[in-house]
Subunit: 256 residues, 2 copies
């Protein structure tokens, strides 16, 4: 049975897309069947994997409003075992339109249901907000993965995010768990990174992944080449960290 993870944090720029793309790619490289769903109207995960969605081809928007079946919405990527349901700008106004639909928070969960047995892992890359797209991801997933930038503002937002997770567990998705917090953009040259990391480990203990993602410029260069880091520069610190994170996830028992 596949596991569905929402990669979420309403704080902007903390590494949600970078984590979704590179964790999904690392697991696909480790012979797992993986699907990435770009739930962000910015479409960064889609372009980060070099996927161009031709006019007329379905995107997540088409899937959510019921205009396309889920199989038709899956695009190939440079990695054989990694597929993506992409997004583009037509998802921008969707929240208003989806809000008027029946079962509006369950649209994504329903759309992904037929895929439950075909992928070992499904990752949902969320936008920086707690709106309807993120609620759909939280309702569709088994657990959340929270990328946390080692900076002050990012730490501040964590409480609000955990409140939202609790609310969704109570009202929409009783099985919703916390898979873990991933520390990102860790810079060993500055004290702030160390202080934030220590703070988070003290509060969340083993809910924090052991693997820490360092700040590494190769991670921010890779998307401009439309490649995950492991296809852009396999030996850089960023690629190696995401491969370690993938191994850490693989070593966990296969779900509840």
């Amino acid at each position: 049975m596949g596991r569905i993870f929402a990669v979420t944090n309403q704080k902007g720029g903390v590494g949600k897309t970078t984590t979704s793309v590179n964790l999904a790619a690392s697991l696909a490289a480790a012979e797992q069947d993986v699907l990435l769903v770009d739930c962000d109207p910015q479409g960064n995960a889609t372009s980060g994997l070099g996927v161009e969605i031709a006019a007329g081809r379905p995107t997540l928007y088409d899937l959510l409003i019921g205009r396309s079946g889920v199989q038709a919405a899956i695009n190939r990527t440079d990695l054989e075992r990694l597929g993506i349901i992409g997004s583009n700008v037509n998802l921008f106004g969707a929240e208003v339109e989806l809000a008027a639909m029946e079962g509006r928070e369950h649209l994504l969960a329903r759309a992904l249901k037929p895929l439950a047995a075909s992928f070992r892992y499904i990752f949902l890359d969320c936008p920086p907000s707690l709106g309807l797209l993120t609620l759909n991801a939280l309702t569709a997933c088994d657990a959340v993965i929270i990328p946390l930038q080692c900076e002050y503002y990012a730490l501040e937002g964590l409480t609000q995010l955990l409140h939202t997770v609790t609310r969704v567990r109570r009202n929409l998705n009783p099985a919703l768990g916390l898979e873990g917090i991933v520390l990102t953009m860790f810079d060993k040259r500055n004290n702030l990174s160390g202080q934030v990391a220590e703070d988070v480990r003290r509060h969340f203990g083993d809910k924090v992944f052991k693997t820490v993602i360092p700040r590494n410029v190769r991670l921010s260069e890779a998307p401009s080449h439309g490649k995950p880091a492991l296809l852009y520069d396999r030996h850089c610190a960023g690629s190696r960290a995401y491969l370690r994170l993938a191994r850490e996830l693989l070593a966990r028992p296969a779900g509840p």
Copy 2:
């Protein structure tokens, strides 16, 4: 007559709050009367200035739903000539409530009208989305200031943002201008920063502020002390850059 600027970019983590807080603080230090409005439910601008909003005191949310007058919602800061209308978590979820109100995109413009003559500059710090809170800011302001992180994903989102600005100018705020693009987190050690900066200057010419904000860890440390950079470490590269940006803005004619 005061100028109202919306500091906006739907891409997350590009330096909207850091620019709003430090540009506002630098102008206040230069003897200008400045108001900062925290339009982001994360409330980062509010905590970045060390402002605690006591229970029962009005926030932006109270102002938008008409429960408070604008004067009562202004908080003092460590800088005598800088005031802030703060936000907290009660602004999360407001978008749904505001969407049902009459003239929903004009709520902020109406609320700020009484202040037109009392501040030389008003800055609206926007959340990382193009939802109703950002639309309110784009409708209330004279022009937008766009912080742009010198990275690939941030560059990708610029076209969508400019489309939105054009749409708001056509339908909601005919006077809406582009005050300028501010290059942020510029790291001279990596090529990507240089390439992005060159690209943006080629396309946007003098719409790009001459002042470039360098990546500087002191800027990310200051908010954990509840202070703008110029009160935390006046001589660091970050403070000096924002003081230069303030001077660049002051040198411009006082607006239409």
